[in-house]
Symmetry: D2
Subunit: 345 residues, 4 copies
């Protein structure tokens, strides 16, 4: 798991956005990624910059993204910013000659996605990766390798879910106007997983449905707190998706790949650790409360892989084209939810 130090020059990274997930990325880049140097941090929020000054190893601090891009001692930017900003920020980073890692999604808008792809084609020497971190989770990675090795024969179906512990405060309801809805916000991970594990087939037709179990506030935005979907791919492969905001037990995100000679299940029972509790109620394990807990290692390995790619290794994460396809399918799911009809892509 541990990569030894490289003799190459370190990749100098500037992190942009220091919310909860941004902080996590920043700490990884600062302390846990050999070959990376976290040299700059950018946020419009005073408190976040103050945190960076204390918790990180003396990065240069920027309130303004343009100023960060002008810093010639930054090789790569790491975007953990609101989704609506992603596309333009990636374009700006590429134009400034920076490698760029950007949290998912690329954009909720297909035209925007394509604009970014077009820009990236003009900078083939720059890494541009979208953060679908499940590709770096050790268990997902193991499943991917087992599929490659033929362990389950020909994989023809994926069942995948992104389900969050219910937040009684309904934070995501306030976020609903800009989230793109449950399929573009949550299921986009499952779409990427399905395409990745099935060999990147193109989608042909989708159908989605959903219900509001608890959060009535979503209704005015046409959104749901539990969504289900079927996705047909061009070669007859299939995917079933489930997304939920209302789980009682924790973040229970996982996938299953079914093949002609067997199946692989990733993440069934989101055990928080190796402890089993036996008492009068039975035998139980506790669950990972949030995706931070579940994918802690994945975020770290994702950062290591990006740095290795910048240093000349193979690109490993989701490409901009993968992200575009995920947005395309996610948008069709949203359309199907709203119309009640299957949508042909």
């Amino acid at each position: 798991m541990m990569t030894t130090a490289s003799n190459r020059a370190p990749v100098r990274v500037g992190v942009v956005g220091l919310g909860r997930l941004g902080k996590r990325h920043a700490e990884n880049l600062a302390y846990r990624v050999p070959g990376a140097a976290l040299v700059a941090a950018c946020s419009p929020v005073e408190d976040e910059l103050a945190w960076a000054g204390e918790a990180l190893p003396a990065p240069r601090l920027y309130k303004d993204y343009a100023a960060l891009l002008a810093d010639r001692d930054v090789d790569a930017v790491w975007l953990v910013t609101p989704s609506a900003l992603h596309a333009q920020q990636i374009v700006d980073a590429l134009r400034a000659g920076k490698h760029v890692f950007c949290e998912k999604p690329l954009s909720l808008d297909l035209a925007e996605c394509e604009r970014v792809l077009a820009e990236a084609e003009r900078h083939p020497h720059l890494q541009a990766t979208i953060g679908f971190m499940r590709r770096f989770d050790p268990s997902y990675r193991d499943a991917f390798e087992k599929i490659e090795a033929g362990v389950i024969g020909r994989p023809f179906m994926v069942r995948s879910q992104t389900t969050d512990k219910n937040d009684p405060d309904g934070f995501f309801v306030r976020f609903a106007p800009t989230s793109g809805g449950i399929f573009l916000d949550c299921t986009v991970h499952d779409i990427d997983v399905a395409r990745w594990l099935l060999g990147k087939p193109r989608a042909r037709r989708v159908f989605a449905s959903g219900t509001i179990a608890l959060h009535e506030g979503l209704r005015e935005f046409g959104d749901v707190d539990n969504g289900v979907a079927i996705c047909e791919f061009e070669d007859g492969r299939l995917a079933m998706f489930y997304a939920s905001r209302t789980m009682a037990h924790g973040n229970d995100s996982g996938s299953e790949v079914i093949g002609t000679a067997g199946a692989l299940s990733i993440g069934h029972n989101p055990r928080s650790n190796r402890v089993e509790i036996t008492d009068a109620t039975g035998i139980r394990n506790e669950c990972t409360p949030t995706f931070f807990d579940r994918f802690e290692d994945a975020f770290l390995y994702e950062a290591r892989a990006f740095v290795a790619a910048v240093q000349g290794g193979a690109s490993a994460g989701a490409t901009l084209a993968d992200a575009l396809e995920a947005t395309r399918i996610g948008s069709a799911l949203r359309q199907s939810l709203q119309t009640g009809q299957a949508v042909t892509l």
Copy 2:
């Protein structure tokens, strides 16, 4: 689990159809159901009658169903016959004044289903039950009771699957012309489970898809060996279904019910027993090979419940109306598979 003997007169049963499943029912009724007396057996197949003469406690043997119905010392008939015969045989049994248990499905034809319901209304004193045995599986029963007790809050979604171990000989391909397709043959169990566990909501819209993973012979019949479906109910409840004929590991039929305060999973990991095997490949359990193995107890408890109902207890199994609704939804799934469009009921 063991019901004590009743002082009531035994229910005298005639079993009709002595294929593999018929034999199982006959043995249960003969030896394991207090209150039942297996007094007659009917089959057009010489070998099957010979088996009945040896293996069962001296039943009267009939080659002809009408002759069995004329036997005044038979109180109830137990139909384990080809699906296409079910509707008329039930009607005939009711007209002959017999209680009737019939294996699923009631009929693949909705008009036939309704004809049987109309006949049954004329015989309110006769039991008429369709054999959806999962309702009698101890684990399904436990889940049902936990839901009733409010353990998971308001249940709003069911995920359910009927998946068989792959039969390399493809028996079911030869059966395809009359099976009604994967949804009416397999998913009909999941439909009944979903309605039962969700409080019998009516279906509003369905979408289905599928693929042929291994058995190309199904293509000419418009059938698939792996099918997926979404079912929307009128009150916003949801179901997702999966049916497969191509599992590598065994019969893996189970369900999950998700509610606002928790979820119940029934049958995940179809352990064949309580043994775990540890060796160089890891730690594993073997799986129930067939639905006979998985639902052995359910078939027994189903028979006990029917006999108890005939003796004056509460009816416990799926009613004819439940079976009609299962056929209605299953037919819509087949139509959706064939058209590629959502179907509104």
Copy 3:
């Protein structure tokens, strides 16, 4: 699982002792064992005989054991009586020409055990079996067959436990003066399992210890509510035992066999059924509350096997010699507990 009816004459059984376990045996013999006819029942307790008259299919009722033995239409007696009576009752049954099944233990006294063996040698045509029911539990049976098939190489060690749910009323404390202590009452099952799964090696040396976790009333009898032990066999094989009366979750009796190429675990996690409950406390399953629930099937298969043996099949259960050896080892464990020293056999 279902044995078909035999053309042989039924084995006419008289059950002796109708406490909770006796009732269970009686119902099995009456309704679930093809080839058996429960023709007589014996108990000194009026209520128990009344129960037999109602719940069983018209057996002849006896208050006196000698009268039952005089009944010439009884082929076999089924002893579910207090342990202290077992030895003499077996001897009497054999002298009366009856096959005999007796619940464990054969006797707490080694000389008594040997007296029974001597008597049995004079009646080689009569079955005499002690009820170590785990040998008939489907999972233990599967493990035994896997070991025979070489799945784990050479088995060299067994870890086995008999652990009961705590009874706050401490029934077993009142039973302590006659139970023989935790090792002769509980661990005797594990001793038999270990010998059976390891190929019947002889014990060489044992060490036992224990503690009182909850039931101080045991102290005056030199007994404990949690006991542990190590047993060395002559060929270097080993066993570790654990017995408890104070489990919070249920009856958790199981075993593990370790071999040179793998291991088998039987009964780890005593799931009560196939339901998993997911809620804010995590993911859990409920546990089998009592040994009745855990070994319900084993008691049934044990009865079927005995009847088949009487009808001429192979003997399958624990022999009197096995029961003697179990008592010998159990007695040594008790001695070790009391002296604090290892005991050489």
Copy 4:
């Protein structure tokens, strides 16, 4: 999990011994422990020093331990050296004014252990910790905290095991002359775990046994490849231990704590990750092959805790007194194995 950087001066560490485990410690200290600076490395082996020069961030390299101790810019030494050297090296480090972390065991010799304790008492301002890493495994830590919180009532018994995957090359056989035997080499971890989880009771009497399942070469050293033991503590608490060198499936080290209101199991089923494989052999997970894989996180958190303690935080790991007690019990187990008798401490 992530500790933020401290404003305190970094703890300057010199690692001593760069075998497989030494390398692991060195990489953790170099790259994953905020607050630590790996400034020196010491090994008599040329290749290991060469590795340090490449893989670590430019430490000063020493072939000689005394030279390292003379380095005034080293605050703490990290001993991953042969067991026989531990005691003297710790004494030397303390006399040189260095904090010291030392891999287990403190010493196989009780007098040596006491000599180190006496020396440490003269340097109360210096940290001296023995590396019982399980105390830092997140699952063990969680269990410890649940016990403290009363989740299982009063804990009265521990079952704990250290079992390694069989090494067909039998490396540990060559190591047998100096390892101290299976109890001092392996079970010492379980002894420490039991004492830690039970509140540090003193041992009163022990009994041990063992067998050679595969590695006959151990016989001449009086050692075994599978050992079992019972340990009685002064207050009636109990422990059962199992150690094996011959597992087929991997490193399967774990523990169970039983209390009056429940039990906690730590590490049952040593899953290598979150993947389940379903195929014709059943449903399985792969296992952690070695203790490196199983306790990777524990080694890291152990290092972080030591550094935090040096910086003024609370000491968290096993003290020298804990290590002395573990050696005392382990020695008694060895004596019991050799004499066949219980040993009173």
